[in-house]
């Protein structure tokens, strides 16, 4: 998607926890409306990088802008424009489907009348009308995950950050999930997604492969496969990761 401006831009972005460098001078750009995949093994620094961009962690050095705003000085403004779905489950189990949507819409400051409209439309769209007044704890994981995503985009953010959104979900739900992501991107929202499922890279416009806190490779999946002479992304990953496995955790 050319010439639509940049959504995210980083330069030598670094995060250190004491001696340990979780994210090591990463530089990349994400265009508006792009689905940008952040791939890598567990502990490669994906979540840390994402959390810096969301204003949850402040970087040790380097620079980054999100939606044109500086992560050091304007993190509060960034939060207005992004949606975030965390690795951990972010819905409240003792609230109903409706209440969860109302809550997240509410704290993002969506005007009440509009919120009701969006909420009901969203419930309809997700096919959750039957269970809208049931507590979350009774729902299957796949539904919860989709709902979780909905809460992150209900306020129509410019960029949505998804941290391992498909962890532990069955293949069919994963597909549906990626359809939702595609729809979201088609409407102009930038999607920044981390995953350790290499096959999901195929859904992304571009990916960056993180190894040991560094970006080992970046580009469209087709060109990466060509570059490393691999049949699929798994092979690309093994190619990149094997020489230097690291044991530390994030």
């Amino acid at each position: 998607m050319p010439d639509r401006g940049l959504s995210i831009e980083t330069k030598n972005l670094t995060k250190k926890f004491g001696e340990f460098t979780a994210v090591d001078r990463i530089t990349f750009e994400v265009e508006k409306g792009e689905i940008f995949g952040f791939l890598g093994a567990n502990g490669a620094g994906k979540s840390t990088a994402m959390r810096m961009l969301c204003g949850l962690l402040s970087p040790t050095s380097g620079s980054a802008t999100v939606a044109g705003m500086d992560v050091y000085r304007q993190s509060e403004k960034i939060k207005q424009r992004i949606g975030y779905m965390s690795q951990k489950f972010s819905l409240y189990e003792d609230l109903t489907v409706r209440e969860n949507l109302s809550f997240y819409g509410g704290i993002y400051g969506i005007e009440p009348k509009l919120l009701r409209k969006r909420r009901d439309a969203m419930i309809e769209e997700l096919g959750l009308k039957e269970v809208q007044n049931e507590l979350i704890k009774g729902l299957p994981l796949g539904w919860k995950q989709k709902l979780s995503f909905s809460t992150a985009v209900l306020h129509a953010p410019e960029i949505v950050f998804l941290d391992e959104p498909t962890g532990g979900v069955d293949p069919i739900t994963r597909r549906q999930f990626w359809e939702m992501i595609n729809q979201t991107a088609a409407n102009g929202t930038t999607v920044f997604v981390t995953t350790h499922y290499m096959d999901e890279a195929e859904y992304c416009d571009r990916i960056s492969m993180m190894v040991d806190g560094k970006i080992a490779a970046m580009g469209a999946t087709s060109s990466l496969k060509e570059q490393f002479n691999s049949k699929n992304m798994d092979e690309v990953f093994l190619h990149l990761a094997r020489p230097k496995e690291r044991s530390e955790n994030e």
Binding site: Y84, Y92, I107
Partner: protein
């Protein structure tokens, strides 16, 4: 799938709506967790009723001793009256002052009535005489009750004597407290109970409720929203402020109507001070939640660091004056201590703000201190 067409329209909204949405959610949590809610509302009621009946517990056949140094007609008359009462039971007759201590140490006798050697003579000569009542005040409530019965019996007898007489007799009854001279009044239980309950609900419940969000991982999502951390904390705290306030009012009402605990001072002032203490406890709860990220730890800290000092060092059960010096010093940093003084002052002594402004300021000082500490910790956690 026309998933994203849903999301057209306005983007930003008012700040108040955010806070309201959040507080609403907190109320859902509280109401859905109805077991905890029942405990929070029911426990104070149960406690006040338990304590209430301990307070009004009738004394039956309380064992007392007599040290009659006069051995005259008048003293014997009174002793007979006391012996005839169903409330008091004379089990020991003493002959010297030295025996008083010995009898008390055996532990059965709660009170000893001492008639001075010239009791009858004084009464006839001066129309006036003294009786000394020595009480074992280790259990102040019982001691007070027994003393009141004793006095009632003696005064009753005096009234009978004075029925047809021009110049009436007078008997001065001097009470001497052994072991607990300050004799904490029975009504102190209600102020103490309010203090403990407010501490429990405000500090413990908020610290648990905030750490719960951390534990579940929802706190991270909340921090990625435009909700300022202050708003998050405020929204978490407000429902418990309300709940704690309702509890305080319930205990006051029960105390007042069922057990006749007086509220001699201004009700408005009382409610205001209650609010100040609730906020103190809430800020403590918030502070605890910044130091820990697990509900278990928050619970343990609340119990160890708040509940025990609140019960033991606030002067609620054990008089501060009677504590060893180090404990007296430590009691100064227990917020409950100051609130107990305030409550006692307003409820029992009818004091106004002029008499308790210092204690109020100390509580406000605690609030500022804990909030400042929380803010500092919060920053550290975010970087």
């Amino acid at each position: 799938m026309r998933f994203f067409s849903i999301l057209r329209g306005q983007r930003k909204g008012a700040k108040m709506n955010r806070l309201r949405a959040f507080i609403k959610k907190e109320f859902y949590h509280i109401i859905r967790d109805w077991r905890t809610l029942i405990i929070l509302i029911g426990m104070p009621m149960a406690q006040i009723i338990l304590f209430g009946f301990a307070i009004t517990n009738e004394v039956n056949e309380a064992k007392i001793g007599i040290l009659d140094k006069a051995k005259d007609e008048e003293s014997r008359n009174i002793i007979n009256k006391i012996d005839a009462s169903s409330y008091l039971d004379i089990t020991e007759y003493l002959s010297t002052d030295e025996e008083i201590e010995k009898v008390f140490k055996k532990g059965n006798v709660k009170e000893i009535i001492v008639f001075p050697a010239d009791f009858g003579r004084d009464l006839w000569a001066n129309n006036q005489a003294d009786i000394q009542v020595v009480s074992d005040a280790t259990d102040p409530n019982t001691a007070d009750l027994i003393f009141n019965y004793t006095r009632a019996i003696i005064l009753n007898h005096l009234n009978e004597m004075n029925a047809n007489i021009e110049s009436p007799f007078q008997i001065e009854i001097n009470q001497q407290m052994l072991y607990n001279p300050a004799l904490k009044g029975v009504y102190l239980f209600v102020p103490g109970l309010i203090t403990v309950i407010l501490m429990l609900i405000s500090a413990m419940m908020t610290s648990i409720s905030i750490t719960k969000e951390k534990e579940l991982g929802t706190m991270e999502v909340l921090l990625a929203t435009p909700m300022a951390p202050v708003q998050v904390v405020l929204a978490k705290v407000i429902p418990y402020l309300l709940l704690a306030f309702i509890d305080a009012v319930l205990v006051l009402l029960l105390g007042y109507f069922v057990f006749d605990v007086p509220i001699r001072g201004s009700l408005v002032l009382l409610l205001f001070e209650t609010l100040v203490f609730i906020v103190t406890a809430l800020s403590l709860g918030v502070f605890i939640s910044t130091r820990t990220s697990s509900q278990q730890v928050a619970l343990m800290i609340s119990l160890m660091l708040l509940m025990l000092p609140t019960i033991l060092l606030s002067g609620f059960i054990f008089p501060i004056e009677n504590m060893p010096n180090p404990l007296q010093i430590i009691s100064n940093i227990v917020p409950a201590r100051w609130f107990v003084i305030i409550l006692k002052g307003i409820m029992l002594k009818g004091l106004g703000i002029a008499a308790i402004w210092e204690e109020t300021l100390i509580l406000i000082g605690f609030i500022v201190f804990f909030i400042a500490l929380s803010v500092k910790n919060y920053k550290i956690r975010l970087t």
